[in-house]
């Protein structure tokens, strides 16, 4: 019985791989652990070893590229089976974990290649097709822009992995789990028509979800998704004005949850007609927040109405999840950063030479790294039933981003990887570049995932001396929350002196670490903040 071999996901961020070279010939007998192929990912090349034994049926040729999890070969029990699989592959190209729409291939003449919702990030579970960038039945070139897909975090324009006439299974607006069939590439336009004819109903999301590989078991790090939500829409109508729309347009809008006050009618009389609704839905206006509608219920006037979709929805869910599924608690203290600020001034004076104006946050990150070295368990996450204490420190940095209107905001956690290896200046430079990327929507998957501990500061925004109880960024065990420093009279060597005190909170998950290590961590952090020279360690 032939066993499929898929393109392995060799890196967290790997989407597709190219066969540089097969180390085995089609039909040869492969032995377990023997070198099988040189596979190139977006970043590196690997020599992969055979996971199995058997007569090897090669489907993906040297030089060809395919998505991870796609079948690229079979381990067969006999030479005959090799040829069977080779012949059968032209009529059916499903990944083993994905069911295709069975009837649709019957009337099709040529080979059909499945296209699944790509897993664009380690943490991605599902994606929404904001827009197909090609028309159904169109001949799509390889690498041409194929679709604008929104994940829980980012929005990508994905490129076509194939060349072929495209047949849609999922439609614009559909949200599909990763690895699930969303389109097929056909060899001819008539095959697209045949598939369309065979499908008795739009076959969006009929395929079952593939159980993902180990990549999905990695901890979901970021609590916050990326921007790409629909811009706020102001109503087209003046307050109290009647909506004029055809009955069909009204029904379509109602069924889709689209508020017709946002839609401009293109009929010469100004009436909203079907094509206007179709257009508005394609632009995602049914998700748009609205401002200034003047809507009134029971004497309460609405200033704005913001649908909790996209990033807001995920924030809402993740916050609840964090608070309800952990035993988190916050402790707060104040650290004397007078000396830290003095040290910082020396760096700031050398801004040009250093290439950056070193920030207080860079110091805080360095201090956290110091404290983690003393108390490694503070740098841990829960993974299944295990506490995983990490060796490298990937600092999650909570940043506020614009919301969909002038009233609301979004929240993202940028992740600076491997801060334990970085100097203060490097931290500052990398952090600023990271935040800039994320704010511009250019954050990569790594920029937004993989944190082991998170920094969430309200310094500069909150009132001085604010003591906070920040919410854990799952699956991190700990979160450090500094806030705005305040001048206080402190006792130093028996004398009262004015010192700059920074309030710091540490939220930790008591399921993973207890008050004793938590306190030790806080003490270590406190020590580093008050004695910045320790950060040289």
């Amino acid at each position: 019985m032939a066993r499929p071999y898929v393109m392995p996901k060799l890196a967290m961020a790997m989407n597709e791989g190219t066969i540089n070279e097969w180390f085995i010939k089609h039909g040869d007998k492969a032995e377990k652990n023997q070198p099988l192929a040189s596979v190139e990912t977006e970043k590196v090349s690997y020599d992969i070893e055979s996971p199995d034994s058997g007569y090897f049926c090669i489907l993906l040729q040297q030089g060809e590229t395919t998505l991870c999890e796609e079948i690229i070969a079979y381990f067969c029990d006999s030479a005959e089976e090799v040829e069977q699989m080779a012949a059968g592959a032209s009529a059916e190209s499903a990944a083993p974990t994905v069911e295709t729409v069975a009837a649709s291939t019957a009337a099709v003449s040529g080979k059909v290649i499945d296209y699944v919702m790509p897993k664009l990030a380690m943490a991605m579970n599902e994606g929404t097709i904001n827009e197909w960038l090609v028309k159904e039945g169109e001949l799509v070139k390889k690498s041409a822009p194929l679709a604008n897909i929104e994940t829980e975090k980012v929005t990508y324009d994905v490129e076509s992995p194939e060349e072929g006439y495209i047949y849609f299974i999922a439609q614009q607006g559909d949200t599909i789990p990763c690895e699930t069939l969303i389109a097929k590439f056909c060899v001819s336009h008539s095959d697209v028509s045949a598939l369309a004819a065979a499908a008795s109903a739009p076959a969006a999301a009929q395929a079952t979800v593939a159980p993902s590989n180990s990549a999905a078991k990695n901890p979901v790090t970021s609590a916050t998704p990326a921007a790409a939500s629909t811009a706020a829409a102001t109503p087209v109508l003046a307050e109290g004005e009647r909506i004029v729309a055809s009955p069909l347009a009204k029904k379509m809008a109602k069924d889709a949850g689209l508020d017709l006050r946002l839609v401009a009618g293109t009929h010469p009389t100004g009436r909203i007609v079907k094509r206007d609704v179709v257009d508005a839905l394609a632009r995602g206006l049914q998700h748009a927040p609205m401002i200034g509608t003047g809507a009134q219920v029971g004497g309460i006037r609405e200033l704005a109405r913001i649908p909790m979709t996209g990033m807001r929805k995920v924030i809402s869910e993740r916050m609840m999840q964090s608070l309800q599924t952990t035993a988190q608690l916050s402790s707060a203290w104040e650290s004397d950063i007078t000396d830290l600020l003095a040290a910082r001034r020396k760096f700031v004076a050398r801004e040009e030479a250093l290439g950056t104006k070193v920030s207080v946050n860079a110091f805080i990150i360095k201090a956290i790294a110091y404290a983690i070295k003393q108390v490694p368990i503070a740098n841990s996450c829960q993974d299944g039933n295990d506490i995983v204490i990490y060796d490298n420190i990937n600092m999650g940095i909570a940043i506020s981003v614009p919301g969909t209107t002038q009233y609301d905001t979004g929240l993202m956690v940028a992740v600076l990887h491997n801060v334990e290896r970085m100097g203060l200046v490097e931290i500052d430079i990398e952090m600023k570049a990271l935040i800039k990327r994320v704010r511009n929507g250019e954050g990569t998957a790594d920029d937004l995932s993989g944190s082991t501990i998170t920094l969430s500061t309200t310094a500069g925004i909150a009132p001085p001396g604010l003591s906070t109880t920040p919410v854990l960024n799952l699956p991190n065990a700990g979160l450090v929350g500094p806030s705005t420093p305040i001048e206080r009279p402190m006792v130093n060597n028996g004398e009262v002196v004015v010192r700059t005190m920074m309030p710091v909170s540490f939220t930790f998950d008591h399921r993973l670490l207890d008050g004793e290590p938590g306190s030790r961590f806080m003490s270590a952090l406190h020590e580093a903040l008050e004695n910045p020279e320790l950060m040289l360690a």
């Binding site: 055809s246 009955p247 069909l248 347009a249 029904k251 009929h267 010469p268 007609v273 079907k274």
Partner: protein, 321 residues
């Protein structure tokens, strides 16, 4: 393929029914000689007892049919002109429609009423007016109009075999249209509309001479990529609403061409029913193209008071905006 004119097709339907059922007879004024071709010469085959001329006495003429129908005959009353059916309207509409129901749904009244209607000859209101909408009002009478020779023969035959009163006028403007008509007797059921041309962009309902206008227009507009779906309702009572609804589910737009006055015509009833049952399919208001509410002028004005191809085309373009 054998062709007949529309009026010849009617004649053949009557002739074949009269041959197979000796209870079928025709009564009218001057039908033995045949003012119109559909009765010409039938006297030679069937004799004066079955092709019956009466004095100019609509009640007497109609009553011959009405009473005979209750006594087991299957009469066809020929009013010659549609408006004449209004002379004894109390009998042709009220008494005819109410007969079966009011008397306990026991004995039926199998009679056919026919007459010429239609504009185009500049003969004025009394000879040209359409009567179908008015006959649709009294429940108990079926009302139909055939547009093509093929439909005419099949529908007249069905009307004669129907056990109910059927008013089936014919438009003088289509009487010379030629078309394929099979030689044998065949029956087209009443109450069934016919999609005469499939399309996607707008549904246009049209009957009799207007159907030909609309079909011509469909050919021309198709060259521009405008594809209209043309439906001939064929019957007004019973009316095949399902075919129309199915069509506008696809096209989302409806135009009704009815060569009858705008006020209280069948176009209004169809329009109301479509709104009641197909509201959510409509992307534009339903448009009726009817005669203005003016007694039909006999002069040259008749030409532009009728629905014209230009008017229909303009309406199609408007509805597609």
């Amino acid at each position: 393929m054998r062709e007949l004119t529309y009026i010849q097709a009617i004649r053949e339907a009557i002739q074949l029914e009269m041959r197979t059922d000796d209870k079928v007879f025709m009564v009218g004024q001057d039908i033995r000689g045949g003012v119109y071709p559909h009765t010409k010469g039938l006297i030679d085959e069937f004799g004066p007892d079955r092709i019956v001329d009466t004095p100019i006495a609509e009640t007497g003429m109609f009553g011959t049919a009405f009473g005979a129908a209750l006594e087991g005959y299957r009469p066809i009353v020929d009013y010659m002109f549609g408006s004449c059916a209004f002379v004894n309207f109390n009998e042709s509409s009220v008494m005819t429609g109410q007969q079966y129901f009011m008397h306990g749904a026991k004995s039926s009244l199998p009679m056919v009423m026919t007459c010429a209607v239609g504009l185009g000859k500049r003969i004025g209101n009394d000879h040209a007016m359409f009567i179908h909408s008015t006959f649709c009002r009294q429940p108990g009478i079926k009302v139909a109009m055939a547009s093509t020779p093929y439909d005419a023969k099949g529908m007249f035959a069905s009307a004669i075999r129907d056990n109910n009163p059927v008013m089936i006028p014919w438009h003088t403007g289509v009487m010379q249209k030629r078309g394929h008509v099979p030689e044998e007797q065949y029956y087209i059921p009443l109450g069934v509309a016919d999609v005469k041309r499939e399309g996607t962009d707008v549904t246009v309902l049209a009957n009799s001479e207007q159907l030909y206008n609309v079909l011509d227009l469909a050919e021309e507009l198709a060259k521009e990529g405008i594809n209209i779906e043309v439906i001939d309702p064929r019957s007004f009572v019973p009316f095949d609403l399902d075919t129309v609804l199915k069509s506008i589910e696809k096209t989302n737009r409806l135009i009704i061409v009815d060569e009858d006055w705008e006020s209280c015509g069948m176009a209004s009833t169809i329009s109301a029913r479509v709104v009641e049952h197909g509201f959510d399919f409509l992307d534009a208001p339903i448009r009726r193209i009817c005669l203005p509410n003016i007694p039909i002028p006999g002069g040259y004005m008749e030409d532009y008071t009728r629905p014209t191809k230009e008017r229909i085309e303009a309406t199609i373009r408007e509805i597609l905006q």
